[in-house]
Symmetry: C2
Subunit: 216 residues, 2 copies
């Protein structure tokens, strides 16, 4: 396996956490997003979406390039089922996937690098772009807080007392929110879960500043 | 089961297709997005994200509200496994989920109603907002076309010759693209698959103009 990653990519950060939880350490290739390497060969040929992460896998069925962080994590969970990142019951899986997708579909896509660049291209200054970022973070985290605080299935982590897919998505989003100076005091449940995750080596070792390609 | 839906919601459209493919016909409740009903009780209490669709389910484990269209469809596929919406092999499932998430994470979230409204609030006129919409559709569909055209696992549908999760996501996105006047001639594979889906009653009956709450 080879993971194509960038230290500051939130979606790559998710996959790094999942790999660590599974005890997997694939080779890594670094794609510098700020230098635009995702849109040039060789990476652009590997993933027509020009987005990291991508995971190359070789197996009896040949060579494949997996894309989309959530699809990659579901794949890792299927081929390396222990520890499980999804609960055993269908309703629990639906809940955990919904929490994860609330980040993956309704917060992160609005705030990733290509979108912020596009807004600048439309004439918005840094302050307006930052305001856009914080707006979608606030909308999304408030909904997540309500969903987690109001459900007795929430435990030490998003679902029960073992970390899973929802936590894997939440932590990089909280990291980004902090980096962008988003106020977080209204989300005590998210802060509590984020802190519980930070105490686990699998999460800590996946942090952007711990990566080989990290920059100041 | 009760589906909370809006005829023109792309995410609700996905769930309607999946329900039809499974032969399920739950009760429906209509949430008028343009009137803002998603942000007021009773729906706002049901889903703190204020987004449709939501699926209410009652079972031996009590009453639950499922959210996030892709999580709902995975749930339906687990509890009603025939016909399967995901392939039997892990690599195939990873591919189908990635195609579906390319729509769910990287096209649709940038173009949904709340985002377009927000852009207007930032001072952009209808023409600029339409340009934003078409830009992200073009970026996303070009990547999907490349991924589908370049893979021999693509068949009559996105993955082989039976419709599945990726088709369920693709068709509402193509519908929206057409409605917004996005040029589609550069995506022959997408057009071919979209046409194959349109020939199936499960897809046709899920279309916005066929819904009880449809408006001209």
């Amino acid at each position: 396996m080879k993971l194509h990653t960038y230290f500051r990519s939130s979606a790559a950060y998710r996959v790094r956490i999942a790999l660590n939880l599974k005890g997997l350490a694939p080779d890594q290739a670094f794609v510098h997003l700020r230098k635009g390497e995702q849109s040039k060969p060789p990476f652009a040929d590997l993933n027509p979406e020009h987005l990291v992460p991508a995971l190359e896998v070789d197996g009896p069925e040949g060579h494949h390039v997996l894309t989309q962080s959530v699809a990659i994590i579901e794949y890792l969970d299927e081929i390396h089922p222990t520890p499980a990142l999804l609960p055993a019951d269908a309703l629990g899986r639906a809940r955990v996937r919904a929490l994860a997708l609330a980040v993956a579909c309704d917060i992160h896509p609005l705030d990733n690098l290509r979108v912020l660049k596009h807004l600048k291209g439309m004439g918005h200054g840094q302050e307006e772009v930052d305001g856009w970022y914080r707006h979608w973070v606030a909308v999304g985290l408030a909904a997540l807080e309500a969903q987690l605080a109001g459900d007795r299935r929430t435990g030490r982590f998003c679902h029960g007392d073992q970390p899973g897919l929802a936590d894997v998505l939440l932590v990089p989003q909280m990291f980004n929110a902090r980096r962008m100076g988003c106020p977080l005091e209204d989300y005590p449940t998210l802060l509590r879960i984020d802190a519980a995750c930070a105490g686990l080596p699998a999460f800590a070792a996946a942090a952007p500043d711990r990566q080989p390609d990290a920059e100041a």
